[in-house]
């Protein structure tokens, strides 16, 4: 099989699985549906492996599949760009997707929408692959919106739940706000670069680096800054950066497997991927990178705080995801794109692991998600416990687990950055380490340690999950341990990405990181003496103290810091603000325009008004037609008199 058909196979195999399960789910049955979809994704994963080998042997590809549309000299195509960045994403996406597919067999076994679910997650895999494999902005946008659609369908999978169908609409609309920016960014690129192809655009980028654009006439701003910020607004929607993060916590209304696949490991990282892909553009605008840095840092820290007070196990992981996406964004801002992708990869493994672990707990607890009703589960679910522990250690950044390497690399890159806002970002990511370790272990202790707090009936039925659930946990735990150790040297320090990522000399941390690199061992040795490690240890210690030893302390804190607690409990009031100002405002304005503009002014005054005017004029005119001969005769004589006078005057 030629490489070209292999490229096609990667997205098309999951698509075929999705269509079969979606259209013929009833005929295929449950087992048939999960077999075809798993087969599709497995094929896709294997093909990705082969392609990865080929790519690292130096065979890149950039070419069209078919021309979608052409207008004048603008051609829009569907096409693939296969380079190290793409294959990295392909591997992450297909591997996590495969794990989630297998896991779903156990998790959704009793759900009546079994086939539909498999169809959706395979469709998602297809869309995500189209997104990462794109060689042009059109297809990028296409995949971008398609993953949004599947996310919408999956958050609302249990469509009778009011919270689920509220959450999916919210997710779609908030993402559309980001897409608005993204679309305009793409539009400006076409208008000023004359193409939608990555290669052409990147080639021309340095030529227009100093161009300006007048958004408000008379005050020119840098074109590149505007383009990059618009593109980043798109990334903010998909990758849930403040203030467009509000949809992600609510997305937990969807079934847990998709929280792991879509809302932790893959789709939400699309923004990170996109900015890395656009590194040749972002490198040309310091202002844009500064914005990226500050927004990422804010998300990293402030979302981590919210993780502390959640009692719903999935919501803790969700806020953790937001915060970790913030870390990746910070890395982007610091021009450390390989580090961002590195963290994206390690995070995909350990966060999918944590979500699936949480799902395993929820499954065992009969869909109970409140950690206050858990405790002591480690005895009943040893595999889930050990894998969750690994996930938590990785998330907290304890060496030698995967998260340590990627997080430390981010912190060092930010420290070396000289952009405006870098000081704030450094503080935020440092403080974030403590908070992350604290909420991760708070969750672990509340769930698995201490006395069991569930009711008798639930406890009697507690048992470890079946192998289709634990196997993916184990398979995800392995890279959560070793991926960082193994990948940091080639991926971050070496020339792994080749020309896929551009970092201009003098731009920030990556170069410093590479200069100070003395191998993995030295990195770890340096790590355990540095501040972040001890912050993480302190976080774990605090969590142990508050949730294992002196369990009354959190309540005292809560009582003392009422105001702070209320602020966090209301998630900084973002939701309330959006609800009132944007959702409410749009409805108010819409009603006003409809009732006043359409009904009163246009219909009332113009349409019916002119009809009335005609009516009234006719009523007047009707009075002239009295029917009396002498009236008509008088008017006739009067008319003749006037005409004759005129005639005489003129003569």
């Amino acid at each position: 099989m030629s490489m070209h058909s292999l490229y096609l196979l990667v997205p098309l195999a999951p698509l075929a699985g999705s269509l079969l399960a979606g259209l013929f789910g009833r005929q295929l049955g449950r087992a048939g549906s999960h077999t075809v979809t798993i087969l599709g994704v497995a094929l896709s994963f294997l093909a990705s492996l082969v392609i990865a080998r080929d790519v690292f042997a130096g065979h890149l590809f950039n070419g069209p599949v078919y021309t979608w549309l052409s207008v004048e000299d603008i051609t829009m195509s569907v096409g693939f760009l296969i380079d190290p960045l793409t294959v990295t994403m392909m591997l992450v996406v297909t591997f996590v997707s495969l794990m989630v597919h297998i896991y779903t067999i156990g998790y959704m076994e009793e759900d009546p929408g079994y086939q539909r679910f498999f169809s959706y997650i395979s469709l998602f895999t297809f869309s995500m692959l189209m997104l990462v494999m794109a060689n042009n902005f059109l297809q990028l946008f296409f995949g971008w919106e398609a993953v949004g659609l599947v996310s919408y369908l999956l958050i609302g999978f249990w469509y009778t739940r009011p919270t689920a169908i509220y959450a999916n609409l919210k997710a779609f609309l908030v993402n559309r706000v980001g897409d608005l920016g993204f679309l305009l960014g793409i539009g400006l690129i076409l208008a000023h670069f004359g193409s939608l192809d990555y290669a052409t655009v990147f080639e021309r980028a340095p030529l227009v680096a100093h161009d300006t654009i007048e958004l408000v006439s008379g005050s020119p701003v840098s074109l590149m800054t505007v383009v990059c910020i618009l593109l980043f607004i798109g990334a903010m929607g998909k990758s849930a950066q403040m203030p467009l993060h509000v949809w992600l916590p609510d997305s937990m209304e969807g079934p847990t497997p998709i929280s792991a696949l879509i809302h932790a490991a893959t789709m939400v990282t699309a923004g990170i991927f996109m900015v890395s892909r656009m590194s040749p553009l972002f490198e040309l605008s310091e202002t844009a990178r500064s914005v990226v840095l500050v927004i990422g840092a804010s998300t990293a820290l402030f979302m981590a705080f919210l993780g502390i007070i959640q009692n719903d196990i999935k919501r803790v992981v969700a806020y953790s995801t937001l915060s970790q996406l913030g870390y990746m964004t910070v890395a982007l801002g610091a021009s450390a794109y390989p580090v961002a992708i590195f963290h994206l990869g390690t995070h995909a493994f350990f966060k999918a692991l944590l979500f699936l672990g949480a799902g395993s707990v929820i499954h065992a607890m009969h869909h109970e998600q409140d950690m206050r009703n858990m405790g002591g589960l480690r005895k009943y679910m040893p595999i889930t416990y050990v894998t969750a522990l690994i996930g938590s250690l990785a998330l907290s950044g304890i060496p030698p687990f995967a998260g340590f390497f990627s997080k430390d690399a981010i912190i060092e890159a930010v420290q070396a950055s000289s952009l405006p806002g870098a000081g704030y970002a450094t503080f935020a990511v440092m403080a974030g380490v403590f908070v992350t370790a604290f909420y991760s272990f708070r969750m672990l202790f509340m769930t698995f340690h201490g006395k069991p707090r569930m009711d008798e009936h639930t406890r009697e039925h507690l048992h470890e999950s079946p192998w289709v659930i634990t196997l993916p946990l184990i398979l995800l735990a392995i890279p959560s341990v070793v991926a960082g150790y193994m990948a940091i040297d080639p991926m971050v320090m070496g020339n792994y990405f080749g020309n896929a990522i551009t970092v201009l000399p003098g731009n920030g941390g990556l170069h410093v990181l590479r200069e100070e690199w003395h191998g993995v061992g030295a990195f770890m040795a340096h790590g355990v003496t540095a501040l972040p490690f001890w912050l993480a240890i302190a976080g774990i210690a605090c969590a142990a103290a508050f949730y294992l030893k002196w369990t009354g302390v959190p309540d005292i804190f809560m009582a003392r810091l009422r105001g702070l607690y209320t602020l966090l409990d209301n998630k900084y009031y973002f939701d309330r603000f959006n609800e009132i100002v944007f959702a409410g405002g749009a409805r108010e304005v819409g009603t006003g325009l409809w009732r006043v503009g359409d009904m009163r002014l246009i219909d009332g005054v113009m349409v019916n008004g002119s009809a009335n005017l005609v009516g009234r004029l006719s009523a007047r005119l009707r009075r002239v037609q009295t029917g009396y001969i002498y009236h008509y005769a008088f008017i006739m004589i009067f008319g003749v008199f006037i005409l004759m006078s005129l005639w005489f005057v003129k003569a």
Binding site: V71, A191, G590
Partner: protein, 493 residues
């Protein structure tokens, strides 16, 4: 018959079929009436297919031209022809007529033969509008077409049908008298000819151009409809039967935009440039203002009607960008809107036939009882929200790309439809389809039958096909659009 008479067939075959249905169909023979109508509609579409197959992409000249003297004393001719701009509307119109016949199959209980005949006759007349090359012939078709639509709303419509029908009739009649006056003026300027193509070559001073532009504008803006002459459309839609709404949204609205392309731009290019600011402003108001109004509608049909106005805002915006992306984007948006709005109205019709209400609040949880319907409706809702991969995306995308080349803020305002379009469509979908079963009526709903599945599946296939591979459409447009852009960029005085 040879290829020389294809357009005549496209015009007269449906009309003849309509007359036959009137003559031989009737209350007592519903089966025969239906099948006769279907055969007429299918044949009507069949004769338009060779128009596409035999269409030459390389020329901007009129194709399939037919010419015969009609009223020699005024030099009025029966002159038909199509180019890359009008081709798709003839096909779209003839195709949608089939769907309308199927959609009305058992649903229409009173005066079935007259209902079917009205649609068939209207289909022929609309083909006449899109292919007429003589101004008077165009005018006759343009006006005659109003009559069946007026009857469809007035006879088979809802409770306020008479108000809606008269509003529709008066509104759309308003401008057309001025258009006739403009035609007569141009007739004398052209040395006694009503040839539209000759009108396009006339030199005209700017002042005259502006007056003619306004005369045409009044006629076409009402049809599109553009803000602020749009208020007839929601009323007409709400009262019209499903088939009426489908044709109204899918076809008749396009006549307005077609008029701009065929008359305003090439006949009055300088006035078009002078007044483009106004046209752009009205288009953007349509997108944003109407988008917000659509959000708060309680009646599904009204909501989709407002959504149509908002989507048509993209068409007029694209046209007045005076670049290839804009015009072709506008044409794509029109074709897509034909499918998508038609499908949306058919979906609402499916619900209305069962529940006899269009109030959103009367529904909830339809997916529980009608899962197959919900899947189709989801696809069309997403197309209406402009999701890539569906036809609804292309026009909006291309017009936005075109607008940003002219002015960033035009594009920014237009692109708000990403949010508003999704908000009003999906919010409605959520309230109607998702959730627990809201009441006993919803609990008793039956999923779509084969007939309904047929027309929804056909439209679904078209919406996806066009979304995934729109290139064949634009390939036919390039030459004509290029010529149009040359005409509009050449000053006439």
């Amino acid at each position: 018959m040879t290829a020389h008479h294809l357009l005549s067939l496209a015009v007269w075959l449906p009309i003849l079929a309509g007359i036959l249905v009137l003559a031989f169909g009737g209350e007592e023979r519903p089966g025969a009436t239906r099948w006769l109508s279907l055969i007429g509609a299918v044949l009507g579409f069949a004769v338009t297919v060779p128009l596409y197959l035999g269409f030459s992409n390389d020329t901007a000249a009129m194709q399939f031209v037919e010419m015969a003297t009609w009223i020699p004393s005024f030099n009025i001719n029966y002159h038909l022809g199509i180019d890359g701009i009008s081709l798709w509307f003839v096909l779209l119109n003839s195709f949608m007529t089939i769907l309308v016949v199927i959609a009305g199959w058992v649903v229409i209980e009173k005066r079935l033969s007259q209902y079917m005949a009205a649609f068939l006759i209207m289909s022929g007349l609309i083909n006449g509008v899109f292919s007429a090359l003589d101004a008077i012939l165009f005018y006759v078709f343009f006006e005659a077409m109003l009559i069946p639509m007026y009857l469809i709303i007035g006879v088979w419509g809802g409770p306020r049908r008479v108000y809606a029908a008269i509003k529709f009739f008066l509104y759309t009649l308003l401008g057309s008298l001025l258009m006739l006056a403009a035609f007569i003026y141009l007739y004398f300027e052209a040395g006694g000819s009503f040839e539209i193509l000759k009108f396009q070559m006339l030199p005209l001073p700017l002042g005259v151009q502006i007056l003619i532009f306004i005369a045409f504008f009044l006629s076409f803006a009402v049809k599109v409809p553009m803000w602020p002459v749009h208020t007839w459309l929601p009323d007409a839609h709400v009262e019209a039967p499903t088939g009426g709404s489908v044709i109204l949204a899918a076809i008749t609205l396009k006549i307005g935009a077609y008029g701009f392309l065929r008359f305003n731009l090439p006949i009055t290019p300088d006035a078009s440039h002078t007044l483009s600011g106004v046209m752009i402003a009205l288009s953007l108001i349509a997108v944003v203002y109407i988008g917000l109004v659509a959000l708060v509608q309680n009646d599904m049909k009204k909501l989709v009607a407002y959504s149509s106005i908002s989507h048509m805002g993209f068409v007029t915006l694209g046209i007045f960008m005076f670049n290839a992306l804009g015009v072709e984007g506008g044409l794509l948006q029109m074709i897509s809107h034909g499918f998508v709005s038609g499908a949306m109205f058919l979906c609402i019709g499916v619900l209305y036939d069962r529940m006899h209400t269009r109030q959103i609040s009367d529904y909830g949880g339809v997916v529980n009882t009608m899962p197959r319907f919900a899947a189709f409706f989801m696809l069309f809702a997403m197309a209406n929200a402009g999701l890539p991969g569906t036809s609804g995306f292309i026009g909006e995308f291309v017009v936005t790309l075109s607008a940003i080349q002219v002015n960033f803020w035009y594009a920014a305002l237009a692109a708000t439809t990403l949010i508003f379009g999704a908000a009003y469509t999906l919010w409605m979908y959520k309230r109607v389809v998702f959730g627990e079963v809201a009441n006993d009526h919803v609990a008793g709903l039956k999923d779509i039958n084969c007939r309904e599945a047929l027309f929804l599946a056909v439209l679904a296939a078209l919406v996806l096909a066009m979304g995934l591979y729109p290139k064949p459409l634009t390939d036919t447009m390039h030459a004509s659009v290029q010529q149009l852009l040359e005409q509009v960029s050449t000053t006439k005085f």
